[in-house]
Subunit: 260 residues, 2 copies
DNA sequence: GCCTAGGTCCCGTGG
DNA sequence: CCACGGGGCCTAGGC
């Protein structure tokens, strides 16, 4: 009796051998990597046809599937996680159908020649942490509001309105209400329009002044123009700066600033 | 003298052997696939840290790089095409640095254990065609304007305004001007706002009536509400229908409808 | 399920 | 080069 191997790698297998390895790999929740010549037909939200050529195909244990050409960042065809695989040998060669219930869409890969099949048991529990995100910018302003401007006091974060979410609402040193919209990349006209949408909800009565503040590392000319037109303000701030600020106080829970 | 192999596949190689194969593969513009235990550090527009775990790594001849965990559609770390690779053995194992000039960002992969290295010569010249896109919806309306409504005559396509592009402008059966905005997926409030933006540019003088028509396979409740508020109209149309219509007349150039 | 907004979005198409 | 909008975007977070 064989003990189950951690990996199976087949070089230029015949279709029958490839099929067996692929089916076994999928059944055992392995990551399956195939290199070979294929066509791909997709049909669902849109539809597509990929003519014969050599590609790299990946099936993951979570039901995601990728077909990569030997160029480009993005897969030429794919299915997101939660898909179901069906492998069989037909007149077009080794046919793998990847079906997604939710979107009622399917991707059919027909392999005619196979260079490699690798069935891999990838164990991956490593933590992944991303820094310098928009969320970190928000946290940095809540933690050290002076980086927005001296005397600023945040009152709410992620306030649901209209529909949408205002990143931060607070009071400035003169007790004027301020709506803060944060962007981690250069802000454009759309970002200003987004801020306006929130201002339209908050700035209802003319008696009370409300400031609109756009926080971003940079702003486009068109964005700046509209901003000035609407009487809003721009505060330059980079996600990297914010990330640095948070590093100084990593460990202090964010909730501490809202609890007595 | 060896003839260059079409593919090199190494199972559980040592770091030195892996390094040699990877360097050769990159130099010869091959697609390099690595399975192994690694950490990844990214620094650029944002930054990230990925702790030790087993992943699938892909380097393509166009300078794109992907690190895939055994789950998810999207890579956990990556660089788009145009990156430069540098491979060396250091104290952290086999270290591959992927550098991108344009964004001044880098991804460093440190491999400690390697399950597989595959150097593949993927030849892929197959055509890829995507159907049922927004562009096809536009073409279908230009080709057979009656699918929008009987008597509709398109005048311009992709008219640049403001900034932005109005998908189609035309006259209806009663010679009323109509601004048409197309969405290939369910239209939401944002889509209606986009139409409004274009209407604000076209519908300047109150003397002339202008219709705003949103074409989409479906519309959200919020979108519909705003649409009614603004007095615009919704025309249901699916990208699939449009794709079918175009199939009937594939071959007729789009320009034919604008030339004498 | 719907809806909104973010993304190291990527990518193409203008100017 | 910058700016804007599309994408089979995908994905997370609310409701």
């Amino acid at each position: 009796m064989e003990s189950p191997k951690r990996q199976i790698i087949l070089q230029t297998p015949n279709l029958e051998g490839a099929k067996k390895a692929i089916k076994t790999g999928i059944a055992r929740h392995r990551t399956v990597v195939i290199a070979g010549s294929c066509t791909v037909d997709y049909d669902g939200r849109a539809s597509s046809k990929l003519e014969e050529g050599e590609r790299l195909i990946i099936f993951k244990p979570d039901g995601s599937a990728l077909v990569h050409r030997p160029k480009d960042y993005s897969p030429v065809n794919w299915q997101p996680s939660g898909s179901i695989f069906h492998t069989r040998i037909g007149k077009d060669g080794l046919v793998i159908r990847v079906f997604r219930r939710k979107e009622r869409e399917s991707m059919v890969i027909s392999l005619t020649m196979i260079q490699m099949v690798a069935v891999l048991d990838l164990v991956d529990n490593g933590d992944f942490t991303l820094y310098a995100t928009e969320k970190e910018m928000q946290e940095a302003i809540l933690f050290k509001p002076d980086i927005l401007e001296p005397g600023f006091r945040p009152m709410t974060k992620e306030m649901a309105v209209d529909p949408g979410f205002i990143d931060i609402i607070g009071y400035d040193a003169d007790d004027i209400l301020a709506v803060v919209e944060i962007k981690r990349v250069k802000a454009n006209k759309k970002a200003v329009e987004q801020l306006k949408k929130y201002m339209d909800v908050i700035d209802l009565d003319d008696s009370r002044r409300v400031r609109g503040i756009l926080v971003a590392p940079d702003i486009t000319d068109n964005g700046s123009e509209l901003l000035n037109q609407l009487g809003y303000e721009y505060k330059p701030l980079t996600p990297q700066e914010c990330s640095e600020i948070l590093k100084q106080k990593r460990g202090t829970p964010l909730t501490a600033f809202f609890e007595p």
